[in-house]
Amino acid sequence: MENFRTKQPPVKTVSAITGIPVENRVLKNGISLFMINAGTEDVARIEFVFRAGMAMESVPLLAGITNMMLSEGTWNYTAEELNNTLDFYGIFQNLTTDRDSAGLNMLFLNKHIEKAMELAGEILFHPVFPEKELNLMMKKRLAGYRISREKVQNIASDCFFESVFGRNHPYGRPVEEKDFEAITPALLRDFHSAYYTPRNMAAIISGKIHENTPYLFEKYFGSFTDSSLPAGNSLKAINGQDAAKIHIEKPGSLQTAIRIGSATINKRHPDYPGLKILDTILGGYFGSRLMKNIREDKGYTYGIHSSVTSLDQSGYKVISTETGKQYCTLTIDEIYREIRILQKEHVKNDELEVVRNYMSGEMVRMFDGPFAIADSFKAVWEFGLDFSYFNRMMDTVKTIDPEEIMRLANLYYNIDDLHEITAG
């Protein structure tokens, strides 16, 4: 009998994403509302997004602390009352600050949607930034900062961003201990009234959405008004930094963290889908060249990854790993070797086929369920793009050829332009 186990069952390439309905409304006061209705359980998530990220801050920590302090006391609730109420209704909230945006996520059972909205309105538009809570927050954050400075991964990453974007731009500016003393309630209030405004906000609700949802948004958010102060344009120019090789010695460390990369294009650039594919081949999935070579063949590391990230004013690509100190130089040599191979040799069709199918599968996962769809929507909406970005990505995944991949490798991975940071 023929052994049926020797042959892989037939495989279909998964098809492109079909249209995902996102319903858009604008509230009377200018708040943009996006609704993604999908899912089986009677649960929903609202993500409130403001252009209030680190790029807007005049001093380090300001955007992040303003955001974290939103739920530390409001007009109608003390911090304790707020926490008790959120927990009592089983509402999970999460305040986040990124480089370009900041905001609030709330997850709740639909039977508590009105409570969630009422509290979100308080948190986002009526914070009072009390001094006592601020002092405690700064002590807690400083303790966390000191721990993070003990990790070679963080030391290397911070140095990488400083090297790539420069210490004068918020994308690259390092945080120092003295910065924790400079934050005052007045600074937080100014930042809040400039950037946490209806016109500067969008709300993305996903999950099971009931008919009265737009009415509830109007009820709980429609009457907030913009402050008279328009947000100043605090954006700074990024001064292109020359490639650098920096080592930070950390005595007693058992491993060295490696970061190699540079500033690059973002999602708005036509080459971006192709660059994503190139990055995937190099180090973007478990079967990548870096993983196969440096982990699976040589055992130098537990993991090695590369990634491309879009920022509003720029973008960056970075290869990251931690290796035993004795493998550090060997690992770096292999990283450059793999880049050079991509620049000189065409990717073989069978490898490209694997990457095409893997990335198609990933796209299916990116649209699996309401929360994943909302994340994908946000990821393009923040760049002024729409879902057609994903169709372009899917087309490129299906049609890119080895010649184009080699062109991109030569254009975007010039070894002389790469910053090489080691810490350990």
């Binding site: 899912g39 491993q255 055992g299 035993g324 599968g361 299916v364």
Partner: protein, 415 residues
Amino acid sequence: MIEFRKSILNNGLRVIVHEDRSTPLVAMNILYDAGSKDEDPDLTGLAHLLEHLMYGGSANIPDYDTPLLLAGGENNAFTNNDITNYYITIPSENIETAFWLESDRMLDPDFTREKTEIQKNVVIEEFRQRYLNQPYGDVMIILRSLAYTTHPYKWPTIGTDISHIGRITNENVRQFFNANYAPKKAILALTGNIDPSMTFDLADKWFGSIPGRNAGTRSLPQEPEQQKAREITVKRNVPSDALFKAWHIGPRTAGDFYTLDLLTDLLAGGESGRLHSRLVRDLNLFSEINAYITSDFDPGLAVISGKIMKGVDIETAENELIRVIEEFKDGAVSDTEMEKVRNRYETSTVLSNTNILHKAMTLCMYELLGNADMINTDAANYRNVTKQMVSESAIRYFRPENCSTLHYLSDKLDE
């Protein structure tokens, strides 16, 4: 209500299917009833190393990853003290590739000396990266060896020491596989966009012909009751002092598991938990504090961990922490707090039911504990917990002589 169907193949493999047509994907989860508790005390880390080696190809499939990627699938695995768990998510039209891959490595994985040596190195780097080269990374290694004198929970899944991983041989790996990876020691669950009867046919086709190997029976040394408080102090290169306390509790299947789970949520769940509001917010003694139970299958631990605020004496912080626990024994929990932790539990359960992979893992775990239907009945067990049960459990377990304490001190604060 999670509806599912269950079937047992001739070789003893249990198969569970739950249909959820809201997704284009299928999740496949395979749980093996084998964890680090099944290791030889001199060869710890073996169960986890084997998990790595299961990706090195099998009798009929030289390379595990490439065919899965070709099918648009994604996979990962984890090992803990009790189980080893492998999972895949894949577009439903390609699900048969998952059956093909997982059945072949259950049948006959290909362990070679060379691959074992490389993965030993990878795991040693993992050991360094996650446990030794992280601030506070070795806490559970120390705390387990203090809390347990006898039961294999005394070592962590990664292993007691790098040298143990270094001396594992290919023969050890093969032996551990043969003793633990039999069909009757495994549970397979499929959830998502899939038809149950087709799934049982595929399970029979791919897994049905795997011989029902004789797996070893487990007899683990049981931990004697702790009679006296234990305490250890270590000094490390960390920025702040930290306190860890662990109390012995019952197994996952004990009736008071749910009470203890809610008790730790009352202590430290959310920002409003008592430990957080008292010790972080009011008294500023800790910069962060946490409480959880280990959910181990054999008798486990309730753990409280906290980082001490700079300038605070660790004894002062510890005394205040104990004072909060004493309040629980005195029945200080309010009805509102009880309703709060039940509501939090309800939200997190509904949320986990939105995820097919989570449902597949939970079904397997409950089946191993005795009954997959616990995925539906657990909610009632949580609802039935009363204030009185909370204070009784606090009195029963949170006793000084049942506690192991780790003072993890910063050597920088001396300077």
